[in-house]
């Protein structure tokens, strides 16, 4: 009998950029099978005329893709509700569509689509939720958690960050 596989996640570009910025991708690899859609791959690799060099997260992405730790998956259908509420032909649209189709965890660090998922009961994960998970899983201490969260101050609203910090006191 084969041993069950790790839970699958599908992530958007902002989540990947923030998680690698925090150097937490090793935990993503440890606990999850990582998928993303082709559009998100394009957003991560950013082959625009302005790209001068590959950033750290691009290099990390290519390394994990080449070793088949990260795989590409695309949705077969896009639900009308997503088309009505999200940006057309975007990473967020296809990521959420895959999450619904495959019934897998959606990881997204973009406020508007994250809030849409939450409202629709899709239980999205942002980088702060992931830090909280690592804390609950005892991979990191509360002090480390706070340090990681503080690094996100320039990317996530301060009022949200301050409320989150309170959840790291005691509960585990």
């Amino acid at each position: 009998m084969e041993s069950p596989v790790k839970p699958k996640i599908v992530m958007d570009a902002s989540f990947w950029i923030n998680i690698t910025y925090l150097d937490l991708e090793k935990y993503l690899v440890k606990y999850f099978n990582i998928c993303l859609v082709t559009k998100v791959e394009e957003e991560i690799l950013n082959n625009s005329e302005h790209k001068i060099y590959d950033s750290k997260d691009m290099e990390k992405y290519l390394e994990l893709k080449n070793t088949e730790v990260i795989s590409i998956i695309n949705p077969l259908n896009i639900p009308k509700k997503l088309l009505d509420n999200l940006q057309s032909n975007s990473g967020e649209l296809y990521t959420i569509a895959v999450g619904i189709e495959e019934k897998i965890i959606i990881c997204i660090d973009d406020g508007n689509p994250y809030n849409f998922c939450f409202k629709e009961g899709l239980n999205p994960i942002n980088s702060i939720d992931f830090i909280y998970f690592l804390y609950l899983k005892k991979e990191i201490s509360s002090k480390q958690s706070i340090n990681y969260i503080n690094k996100l101050h320039g990317r996530i609203k301060s009022s949200y960050i301050e409320k989150v910090k309170k959840s790291f006191k005691g509960e585990r």
Binding site: H50, E92, P113
Partner: protein, 132 residues
């Protein structure tokens, strides 16, 4: 940045300017040694870029736009726009009701998956799976 001026330009617009604006333009032409039309084009293009970027930032801050839609408004790639957001201290705005909920759910999914894995290891070793 998607350069909309990379195609052949060639529509003209006539505008009236104040004496001081003309003085400033002449001063800048002398300073920069670029042609007056090139200078004016670059000033206008920069103002358009700034306008689009500002509009996209407002949309992100009030939660109406996503990074992808903001990038489209600003005329930038997703990545370039996200970097501009960080540079300009434009932050993602998450629903505070979600705090703690998803992290706990993630823990429960992972724990269930690990329990299944342990049970199947036990079965392979000839033990019965644990009953909950």
């Amino acid at each position: 940045m998607i350069k909309e001026t990379e195609y052949k330009l060639k529509k003209s617009k006539t505008i009236r300017l104040s004496d001081s604006a003309i003085k400033n333009i002449n001063y800048m032409v002398n300073e920069t040694k670029i042609s007056e039309s090139e200078l004016l084009r670059s000033i206008i293009e920069k103002a358009i870029e700034e306008y689009r970027l500002k509009k996209a930032f407002v949309g992100i801050e009030n939660g109406k736009e996503s990074i992808a839609s903001g990038a489209r408004i600003a005329g930038l790639s997703y990545r370039d726009f996200y970097e501009k957001m960080i540079e300009n201290n434009i932050k993602a705005n998450f629903n505070e009701k979600a705090i703690g909920v998803s992290g706990k759910r993630l823990l429960s999914i992972v724990n269930k998956s690990e329990a299944k894995k342990n049970n199947s290891k036990m079965q392979r070793a000839g033990f019965e799976p644990a009953k909950h």
